[in-house]
C-alpha cells in the first residue's frame, strides 16, 4: 500500500466518521444554515404549481453514472424524490428528462417511488421520465421539444451539463418558466450565471437535500463538507508557510 492511497483512505474514513457523528447530532439539535435564495424559490415554486395545476420539469443532465460526474446527478435524484412526492399530489405529475440511459432508469425508479409513496393505488406513467437524446446537444434539443405544451411552470436543472444547458435555461425562461439551476461543471456554471435567474454556485448544488428536508444525513454532509474545507484551507496555508520558510 502506498502513502497516497493510505492518506486517501484515511481521508474517506475520517469523513465517514464525521458524517455519522454529525447525523446523530443533527437528530438531537438540528443545524441551521444560511439562506440560499434559489432553494427558497424552489419551495415557493413547488407550492405554487400544486395550487395552480401546472407541472414541474426536472432535468438531470447527461452524467455518466460510471464516472465522478455522477455525483451531481445523484444529488438531483435525491431532490427529485423529495419534490416528486410533493408535486405528485397535484393534477399534473412531474416529468424528468435525462441524457444518459443509466440515469434515465434511476430517474424512472425515483419518480415511481415518489408516486407510489403518495398515490399507491394509481398506476405510474413510465414516460414521465424521458431520455431525450444521447449526445449533449441532441439531449438539449429533445428536452426543449418534449417540455413544450406540457404546462410547465418550474424547471429545475440539476446535474452534469455542458454549455448546452444555456439553450435549456433560455428556452424555459422565454416561456415564462421559473428556472432553478445547478451544475458541477465549471462551463455550465458560467453559462447558467447569465441565462438562469436562480442558480446555485459550486458546491451549493450538494446542499440541495439539506435545504429540502431530505433527511439528517444530508444536513450532516453539509457540516462534514465545511469541516473538510477548513482542513484543506489549513493544509494549503501550512504548505504555503512551509514553502516560504524553505522547508518544502
Amino acid at each position: 500500500m502506498n502513502l497516497t492511497g493510505l492518506i486517501g483512505l484515511g481521508f474517506v474514513a475520517f469523513s465517514a466518521i464525521c458524517l455519522a457523528i454529525f447525523a446523530v447530532a443533527q437528530h438531537r439539535a438540528p443545524f441551521t444554515f444560511r439562506k440560499i435564495p434559489a432553494f427558497s424559490r424552489i419551495q415557493h415554486s413547488v407550492r405554487l404549481l400544486v395550487e395552480n395545476g401546472s407541472r414541474l420539469h426536472f432535468s438531470l443532465g447527461n452524467a455518466s453514472m460510471l464516472g465522478t460526474d455522477g455525483a451531481s446527478a445523484l444529488v438531483g435524484l435525491a431532490l427529485l424524490r423529495r419534490l416528486g412526492e410533493i408535486t405528485s399530489l397535484g393534477d399534473r405529475p412531474p416529468i424528468a428528462t435525462t441524457g444518459n440511459a443509466v440515469l434515465n432508469l434511476l430517474a424512472q425508479d425515483t419518480l415511481r417511488a415518489a408516486h407510489n409513496a403518495v398515490m399507491p393505488e394509481d398506476p405510474f406513467d413510465m414516460t414521465n421520465a424521458r431520455l431525450t437524446g444521447f449526445t449533449p446537444f441532441s439531449y438539449a434539443a429533445g428536452v426543449m421539444a418534449s417540455t413544450q405544451k406540457e404546462n410547465i411552470s418550474s424547471s429545475v436543472l440539476i446535474g452534469n451539463f455542458g454549455s448546452e444547458v444555456g439553450l435549456l435555461a433560455e428556452a424555459a425562461s422565454s416561456q415564462g418558466v421559473t428556472v432553478i439551476s445547478a451544475s458541477d461543471n465549471l462551463i455550465a456554471q458560467a453559462v447558467l450565471y447569465v441565462t438562469s435567474s436562480d442558480m446555485l454556485v459550486g458546491e451549493e448544488l450538494f446542499a440541495a437535500g439539506a435545504y429540502n428536508q431530505a433527511g439528517s444525513a444530508h444536513a450532516a454532509s453539509l457540516i462534514v463538507q465545511d469541516v473538510l474545507r477548513w482542513l484543506i484551507i489549513l493544509a494549503l496555508l501550512a504548505g504555503a508557510g512551509l514553502k516560504l520558510a524553505g522547508l518544502l
Partner: protein, 209 residues
C-alpha cells in the same frame, strides 16, 4: 418480502462500493482483480441500459404520434431515422449510409445548435445587467470584456499592449484558475459526501429511496 428485497439491494450496493473503494486505494491483487470484474459488469449493464433508453426514446415518440399532437411530424422523423440508423448498423452494405447520416445530418445540426448557443449567450449577457444589477454581475461582465479585448488581434493596432500581455494572462492564469480550483475542491467534497451517503445506504437511488 419488499423489505427483504430492499435490504438485499442495499447490501449488494454497499458491498460493491466497499470493494471498488478499497481496490482504488489499496494495491492488493485479489481486490484489484475483483474490482476490474465489477467494472466490466457495470459497463455491460450500462450497455443494456442504453438499449432500454433507446426503447424509452422510441416509446415516448410513438406515444406522441398515436396521440396525433401538432408536433407529431418531428416524432415521426425521429423514429424514421432511428430505425434507418439501426438497420444501417446491422447491414454491412448500408455502412456508408450510417456515416452519411452522422456526418451529413447529426454533426451539422449539432454545430448549428452551438452557433445558436453563442448568439443566445451573447443576448443573455447583454440582458444580465438589466436582470441582475449587483457587484458580481458587473464583475462578471467586466472580466468577460477584459478577456475578450485581450484575446483578439485588433485591426491596425494588433494586440492591445497591457491588456493582451499582462491583464489577460493575470485574469485567466491566476484569478480564474484560483477560483476554479476553489469551486472544484468544493465540488469534490460534495461528491465525497454524496458517495458516503450512498455508501451508508442513506440515499438509495437504485431502490427508489
Amino acid at each position: 418480502m419488499k423489505r427483504i428485497f430492499a435490504m438485499g439491494e442495499a447490501v449488494i450496493a454497499i458491498s460493491v462500493g466497499v470493494i471498488v473503494l478499497l481496490g482504488y486505494f489499496i494495491d492488493i491483487p485479489a481486490i484489484s482483480i475483483f474490482r476490474i470484474i465489477l467494472f466490466k459488469w457495470a459497463v455491460i449493464l450500462a450497455g443494456v441500459a442504453v438499449l432500454i433508453g433507446m426503447w424509452n426514446l422510441f416509446s415516448n415518440h410513438l406515444k406522441k404520434i398515436r396521440e396525433w399532437k401538432p408536433d407529431s411530424f418531428y416524432s415521426f422523423t425521429l423514429l424514421f431515422f432511428m430505425l434507418l440508423t439501426i438497420m444501417a448498423s446491422f447491414s454491412p452494405a448500408l455502412q456508408p449510409l450510417q456515416s452519411g447520416l452522422l456526418n451529413g445530418i447529426m454533426v451539422p445540426v449539432e454545430i448549428s445548435l452551438l452557433a445558436v448557443l453563442s448568439v443566445t449567450l451573447l443576448l443573455a449577457s447583454l440582458r444580465l445587467l438589466q436582470v441582475r444589477r449587483d457587484l458580481a454581475s458587473i464583475l462578471f461582465m467586466a472580466t468577460t470584456l477584459l478577456v475578450l479585448l485581450g484575446m483578439g488581434s485588433w485591426p491596425y493596432i494588433g494586440q492591445l499592449p497591457i491588456i493582451s500581455t499582462w491583464v489577460r494572462s493575470f485574469v485567466t492564469n491566476v484569478l480564474a484558475v484560483g477560483g476554479a480550483r476553489g469551486i472544484l475542491i468544493g465540488v469534490a467534497l460534495g461528491t465525497l459526501t454524496t458517495g458516503l451517503r450512498i455508501f451508508f445506504g442513506v440515499d438509495r437511488p437504485y431502490g427508489g429511496k
